[in-house]
């Protein structure tokens, strides 16, 4: 059938710079570049380009430029190119449009509409380069009060906690959706940083058990690779109920990505689809969730905090209250801009709400109900820099999860093509020659660099506020002011407008 979708990108090769070295030909798994022997020139098939920049970055003479395909449609504010192209695609294939990474639509980004405070004259600012600045956090249920014996020793039994040197973790990405080398990079970086990475729902490879104390193991509806040793391997167990990129639907790792090693890690047959049903079929209520939480506590001798991850949806605050009461030690809220290896485009782009609003309303609700101490809150869903981290903490988060940012640190250029499985950067692929391109020795260092840099920035910002511990910023909404927000938005965020 005639493909009516025009190219998305156009490749411009500067013939004065190109030396026909064919690096681009070798590097492109999408087979965009090819060598024309007869004319001794390298050519490109624009239609196959996903704009991942692999060729642009590796071209030794910087001869390549990629631009949006310059093709105008008759102007129409309603029928835009994207919506028309989608119709051409679906009319051709009859398929559900499958997208990757986070929601790219121009919805408001509330992080960018909040401004931070700093000390002037009173409550002097602190210079973190010369004074101690605490960014360590403990994730887990906190007792209502602390009691001490006569000798001044703590008598209250502390529920299990996960200690993070920096309030940032690497969010759940399964082995299968990303490569083994990407997983190894995350695990090693987490270990060096004193934080945690998350296995995602694809089990834990035997070779990575050694990073256990820096690992959060996930239990999702498919229960892949879940058994006694797995549950006890990590620092905490996370029940995945939902994901910001695709609230209300399950996951589906296609069989072609289930190679020998992925099959062993997930403990499923080679080449079999790994289907995660939309719900956990043993959870239809908060009471049922409690049952799963306590089955995991029973399986881990009550030594591991149990996280429950939900997508940010309309009634998140009430659900979070239920999760806290169900016995969870931490709640992860994943906003609608969170990434994914694959999600139906219509769901990714239209379902869920921004993390900023969900986080603020959940923190507020739990405070009103007097149960905020019973759970830690972890915010996820497109935390892009250290300022986003600071703002999340001020809105009530104990820590944040980052995933897209971590992938970008490893080379991801946000081409939104993870589901195809031909990631030229060796991240979202199981093709051995592509996976080999991602060197864990280098990539783990880039992750360490990124998070360390953010930590320095967090310390600088805290110091500027006259605060010397991140715990003092948590839920401190006076440190935030809104800009260009209406009264309702300010009310939900629980912050004042700039100038107030």
């Amino acid at each position: 059938m005639l493909n009516m979708v025009p190219s998305a990108f156009k490749i411009i090769r500067d013939e004065n710079k190109c030396i026909q070295c064919k690096v681009c030909v070798k590097q492109c798994a999408n087979l965009v570049h090819y060598y024309d022997e007869e004319k001794d020139i390298v050519r490109a098939d624009d239609t196959k380009c996903v704009c991942c920049h692999r060729c642009v970055v590796l071209c030794p003479t910087k001869a390549l430029t990629i631009i949006n395909y310059p093709l105008d449609y008759r102007q129409n504010a309603n029928w835009t190119k994207n919506y028309m192209d989608d119709i051409y695609r679906q009319a051709q294939s009859g398929g559900v449009l499958l997208a990757s990474m986070g929601n790219p639509k121009p919805f408001p980004v509330y992080w960018d509409k909040m401004l931070l405070n700093a000390s002037q004259v009173t409550n002097p600012s602190i210079d973190p380069l010369r004074e101690p600045m605490e960014t360590k956090v403990l994730i887990g249920r906190k007792p209502e009060k602390l009691e001490y014996d006569k000798k001044g020793k703590l008598a209250t039994k502390m529920p299990p906690q996960v200690e993070l040197k920096i309030p940032i973790m690497f969010s759940a990405m399964s082995y299968g959706s990303i490569s083994r080398n990407a997983h190894e990079s995350l695990a090693r970086a987490a270990e060096e940083l004193g934080i945690c990475y998350n296995t995602g729902e694809g089990g834990l490879n035997k070779d990575f058990y050694k990073y256990g104390k820096n690992t959060i193991v996930q239990v999702a509806s498919g229960r892949f690779g879940v058994y006694k040793d797995y549950l006890n391997a990590g620092a905490a167990v996370e029940i995945k109920i939902g994901q910001g990129a695709k609230p209300g639907i399950g996951g589906h790792l296609p069989g072609e990505k289930v190679d020998e090693d992925v099959s062993g890690t997930r403990m499923i047959p080679l080449g079999s689809d790994a289907i995660s049903p939309a719900p956990h079929h043993d959870i239809y209520s908060i009471e049922d969730l409690r049952q799963l939480i306590f089955s995991l506590k029973e399986a881990t001798a009550y030594k591991k905090p149990i996280f429950v991850k939900i997508a940010a949806v309309h009634n998140s605050a009430a659900i979070a209250s239920g999760i806290a009461r169900a016995g969870a030690d931490a709640i992860v809220i994943d906003g609608f801009r969170g990434g994914t290896g694959a999600a139906p485009a219509r769901i990714r782009d239209n379902v869920g709400i921004p993390i900023e609003l969900a986080l603020a309303s959940i923190d507020q609700r739990l405070r009103e109900e007097g149960i905020r101490n019973e759970v830690s809150l972890i915010a996820a869903g497109s935390i892009r820099n250290s300022a986003d981290v600071i703002k999340a903490v001020a809105l009530g988060a104990d820590a944040v999860y980052i995933a897209s940012a971590a992938l970008i640190a490893m080379g991801c250029h946000m081409c939104h093509s993870c589901s195809v499985g031909k990631c030229n950067w060796g991240i979202a692929t199981q093709v051995p020659e592509l996976v080999r391109r991602l060197n864990p020795d280098i990539m783990y260092k880039r992750l360490v660099n990124l998070v360390s840099a953010w930590n320095h920035e967090i310390q600088e910002i805290l110091g500027g506020m006259g605060i010397n511990a991140i715990d003092s910023l948590r839920g401190n909404k006076l440190m935030l002011r809104g800009i260009d927000l209406n009264e309702k938005e300010l009310e939900v965020l629980g912050i004042k407008h700039a100038g107030e």
């Binding site: 398929g95 449009l97 499958l98 229960r223 689809d273 049903p277």
Partner: protein
């Protein structure tokens, strides 16, 4: 053989007592069990529990090789995400038995509830089995990815189907053996009827003998030839529903 009286003992305490007892004696009888959850969770091989009473939800969750025999009915979530071991229930059981189980076997003398064997898997030599003497509720073997379910349908009323609706829906692995043909409308669209081969017959014979032995039943009226086998249409059922952007 150690005996534990579970009357009025909360599940957390009871499971701790069991954990301590298995170091002394791996053969334990639990009396007066009445709804305590998670009995037998993660227990390893060589442990044998005999349960008199009605164990609560998630019995044998994540179990790693132990053997449990229940003299009574079991509730929901028997063998949830079970890795290995054997469960024999002298009675009926509730919903979602064998959810995501990866290995071991569950034998249920009577009827079973909804979503039995949902997302059962298999991995290499681990091939889980659920065998049900009576009938099963809706969604038997939903999302099934491996292992086997055998449904005998003993004691059915005239005209009654042995399985509920959507049997094998979303199935992408494993096998479901029904002692007689299910109504066409009760089958999920991902399950198809396949011919019984000699391996299937030997497999059925073996487990019918086990069932007869465990529950002291005469199964001479159950004819292996009349079994109907259902399997997944293919192991990648949703491959063609997407258009990758």
């Amino acid at each position: 053989m150690k005996t534990i009286d579970a009357l009025g003992v909360k599940y957390k305490e009871l499971n701790e007592i069991i954990d301590e007892t298995i170091h002394i004696d791996e053969n334990i009888t639990l009396n007066n069990i009445f709804g305590q959850r998670y009995v037998g969770r993660i227990l390893p091989s060589n442990v044998k529990l005999t349960i008199n009473g009605t164990p609560g939800n998630d019995m044998a969750a994540y179990m790693s090789g132990a053997e449990i025999e229940v003299f009574g009915n079991a509730q929901d979530g028997v063998g949830n995400t079970m890795n290995n071991g054997k469960i024999i229930i002298h009675g009926n059981c509730g919903d979602t038995a064998g959810y995501a189980m990866r290995g071991g076997a569950i034998y249920i003398e009577g009827n079973a509830g909804y979503r039995i064997g949902i997302h059962m898997k298999e991995y290499k030599e681990m091939k889980p089995l659920i065998m049900i003497g009576g009938k099963a509720g809706d969604f038997l073997g939903e999302y099934m990815a491996g292992g086997a379910i055998i449904l005998l349908g003993l004691g059915l009323k005239k005209g009654e189907d042995l399985t509920g609706k959507y049997c094998g829906t979303g199935m992408h692995g494993g096998k479901i053996y029904l002692a007689k043909k299910a109504q066409e409308f009760n089958l999920g669209k991902e399950a198809v009827k396949v011919k019984l081969d000699d391996d299937d017959k030997a497999f059925l014979k073996k487990h019918l003998d086990e069932y007869a032995k465990y529950f002291k039943k005469d199964l001479s009226a159950v004819k292996i030839e009349s079994f109907v086998k259902y399997a997944a249409v293919n192991k990648n059922p949703y491959k063609n529903i997407y258009h990758k952007l």
